[in-house]
Symmetry: C2
Subunit: 487 residues, 2 copies
């Protein structure tokens, strides 16, 4: 098993190698499953994901979303109603045509996303303005037949996400929902998980299939590439018309509803957490999602009474577990050093060392994973220590992540400069003729000339007025956009 | 929407009608999804299921299980290694042959259960006795192409369950695991959810495909039919051999591992909770899984200051929600009576009525859903009241359920008597020649002669010695078994 794996990759030197080797060495996932693009989420991934789900649940509940579960399969006829949507997703659908030996009456697809499954039902549920707003989310696996190279947690053919699908009587409310979704993202991704990001309004040519506009949160990975994290889409009436989601308004007329959807991909957020916070010793997690929050390690000296120490450790584990803290006790026969190594690799938030001296002095020796800082505290102070710890850890992680993020914002006023800046990694601000369809040609030139630089869009929370010309075509610039290379 | 649905079915009169109409009226599920056998788990189902998952997680974590997530698909070649298993499950598998327009290199099936997916990986993970025991569970959807009539929550083509798959170095440990699984079942199903059941060792002809033996928990539904709830299986080495799960033992020899598996079907447990605890007013839940634990209803009189009452209610909801209590506030324009009706139907555990008088006297009027009991308490006593409430509710629910269960245990010493007793519903104890393969013929006679009476097995926790003859063939009875009609 993974116990004996040594991890000696350097994040600074080769991020990709560090990341994929860490996933293996720390036993986060196993990608040796015999179906390509499908991986096992081992304990670390499964628990961190479960806890991330809870963080989102909390925010979605607060903003009056209802949790439901929709089927994993979608009949072809239901899927086929919104034309842009089906054109975008059909190539990625896994199709089921048989149950046992029977041919099914209709081909069904594994959901790549659930607009069509959910909106089919919404049209039955919504009758009057009194039924609105309807705000629903589900925690779901989705499946996409990726033809690109798959990479564990970043691009699998099966992944875990949340999708929220909201319906409103007015355009205004729907547009406000998009802002609320961005706030939810900030509350979880940044405040709880310490992942900085920028929200961009995507250019016309890069919006969600079927949306009127899309905001995507771009997270910066340590290798300077960006990755899209939660995105939120204003669907307008693009789905309510084909899916017949109508309501009788207060004024007694029938109207089509306004819709939004929002989709944080939990597995991919986990990839960001690991990438951004981890170090050369292994995983580092924010306390709330740490699969192992505390590990207790008994320290025996020659003259120690091992049984006394063991009993003390067991008692301590019991007490902490009862408080709902995920606490491990390592009673294996390894040396303490090997145990430290093992649990640092797996990102246990703190290690408590207990030896005869500690028991005698009613003290605990605590080592924090995120800072490496060692501290001895009185046993009676443990509760207070643990109360303050989550905030201290996330503050430290945020600070480091913010520092890196800040250094990855550049500007360029010519294609040559853009190339140079892009090589540093991160975002490069430029003037572009347009973020509407008109600008697509220039964006394509950027992409081919810079070896993959993509126009990510205009900043969400900051009006930036272009003053000069498009750095590609030289026409009057109508948009200040950010370019980055992405996963 | 469902707001206006009136529910007037009688549980005593026609249980099935009561159950299926209640699922609709209380908005538990929606079965109008366009793929047969696939339903929407609406808010009530989704939250109750989520909370049931947490109850099982707690017990499985305590018994040192690790949570993981395995792929939803299984390649045909992996599925095909254990012959009894594949023969049992293949007719129920949904097969995927295409991704987009591409034919996949190998047919993959949607998991109907995950032995084969998991054991394929176990063979890679287990090397030495130090890697054992390995105890893993996942919370998963499974899919089965049911050809029988589907019924929401009871028999769907997609359902939610937990499956725990454990591996041991010795037979003894594996057999002890089966007992531990039964204890877990008791802790959750009976102690937390108030569902009485009997654990039967299934007869040879009714065990899990691939198991050496199976224990199944039989729950009694109000119509006298039984339904199998969590079952636990001793697999022996039936899977470790074809899946090559070997380990190097302390004695330096290589051995095949011993295995068990355990599978509580969450959706079906929900069906039992609803059936057993519900009444003619609607749903009743144990506090811990109640989707709506508290509903606050403002009561306005002619001279009330509505805004004061509303503000008070909002403040109260905020306070309770912050404590993690699922609290609704009904500010709709309906009359109080209509609100009571609505929330009783949906099983809100308590209703707090707040009017001017209550605010003035610093009192709260509380009505318990499970007892219908109305009580006025001082506001400052609310916390204490809520602390005691979960225990009081479950005690009451258990008491009622136990009473019904007790009345459903019968005996018979002839086929005629068996027929008569079976008509009363519940379990009938009889003498049978054998619970091994030899007895199957007599069991078949029972089934056809009694219009579906099934031999459920021998009691788990009680050695019952047969004294007479098999009530069918008249040979010496070797087993005391229980017969019941089932879903």
């Amino acid at each position: 098993m993974a116990d004996d794996i040594k991890f000696n990759k350097k994040k600074e030197k080769d991020f990709s190698e560090w990341f994929f080797e860490l996933l293996k060495a720390a036993d986060v996932i196993d990608q040796r499953y015999p179906t390509k693009g499908f991986i096992i989420h081992k304990e670390i991934a499964a628990i961190a994901e479960r806890e991330m789900y809870k963080l989102f649940e909390k925010e979605l509940d607060k903003t009056k979303h209802k949790m439901m579960r929709f089927p994993a399969v979608i009949p072809e006829s239901v899927f086929a109603k919104e034309i842009e949507h089906i054109e975008g997703f059909t190539p990625e659908v896994f199709w089921i045509e048989k149950g046992g030996k029977d041919k099914l009456p209709e081909k069904i697809g594994l959901r790549p996303t659930s607009e069509t499954a959910m909106y089919t039902m919404y049209s039955k549920w919504i009758r009057s303005y009194r039924d609105l707003p309807l705000k629903v989310y589900q925690e779901a696996q989705v499946w996409r037949y990726e033809t690109k190279h798959t990479r564990p947690l970043l691009r699998d053919r099966e992944f875990y996400w949340i999708e929220a699908h909201d319906v409103f009587a007015t355009k205004k409310e729907a547009e406000e929902q998009v802002t609320e979704d961005m706030n939810t993202t900030k509350k979880v991704m940044y405040e709880k998980l310490g992942i900085p990001f920028l929200f961009f309004k995507r250019p016309e040519w890069d919006k969600f299939n079927g949306a009127e506009y899309t905001f995507g949160a771009d997270v910066l990975m340590p290798n300077g590439l960006v990755i899209q994290q939660p995105s939120t889409h204003f669907l307008g009436q693009n789905f309510s018309k084909p899916y017949d989601i109508k309501f009788l308004d207060e004024d007694e007329t029938e109207k089509y509803a306004w819709q939004t959807c929002y989709g944080p991909a939990i597995s991919r957020i986990l990839a960001s957490v690991i990438s951004i916070h981890g170090d050369d010793k292994g995983l580092i997690f924010p306390w709330e999602i740490a699969p192992y929050q505390i590990v207790i390690i008994p320290i025996y000296k020659k003259d120690s009474n091992q049984q006394t120490i063991k009993n003390y450790c067991k008692e301590l584990q019991k007490k902490l577990s009862e408080k709902g803290i995920r606490t491990e006790l390592d009673l294996s026969e390894k040396r303490p050093g090997a145990k430290y190594y093992y649990w640092e690799l797996r990102g246990a938030s703190i290690r408590i060392e207990v030896g005869a001296r500690e028991i005698q002095n009613k003290e605990l020796t605590i080592v924090r994973r995120d800072k490496g800082e060692k501290q001895t505290i009185k046993e009676e102070k443990l509760q207070e220590y643990l109360k303050q710890l989550p905030e201290k850890i996330i503050k430290n992680l945020k600070q480091k992540a913010d520092e890196q993020f800040k250094n990855a914002l550049h500007e360029a006023s010519s294609l040559e400069e853009l190339k140079k800046q892009l090589n540093k990694g991160g975002f490069v601000k430029i003037n572009l003729c347009s973020r509407d369809a008109d600008g697509e040609k220039c964006a394509e030139i950027i992409k081919s000339e810079t070896d993959g630089g993509e126009v990510r869009g205009t900043l969400h929370n900051k009006k930036e007025k272009p003053t000069g010309k498009c750095i590609i075509c030289g026409k009057k610039a109508n948009a200040v956009v950010y370019v980055a290379k992405s996963y």
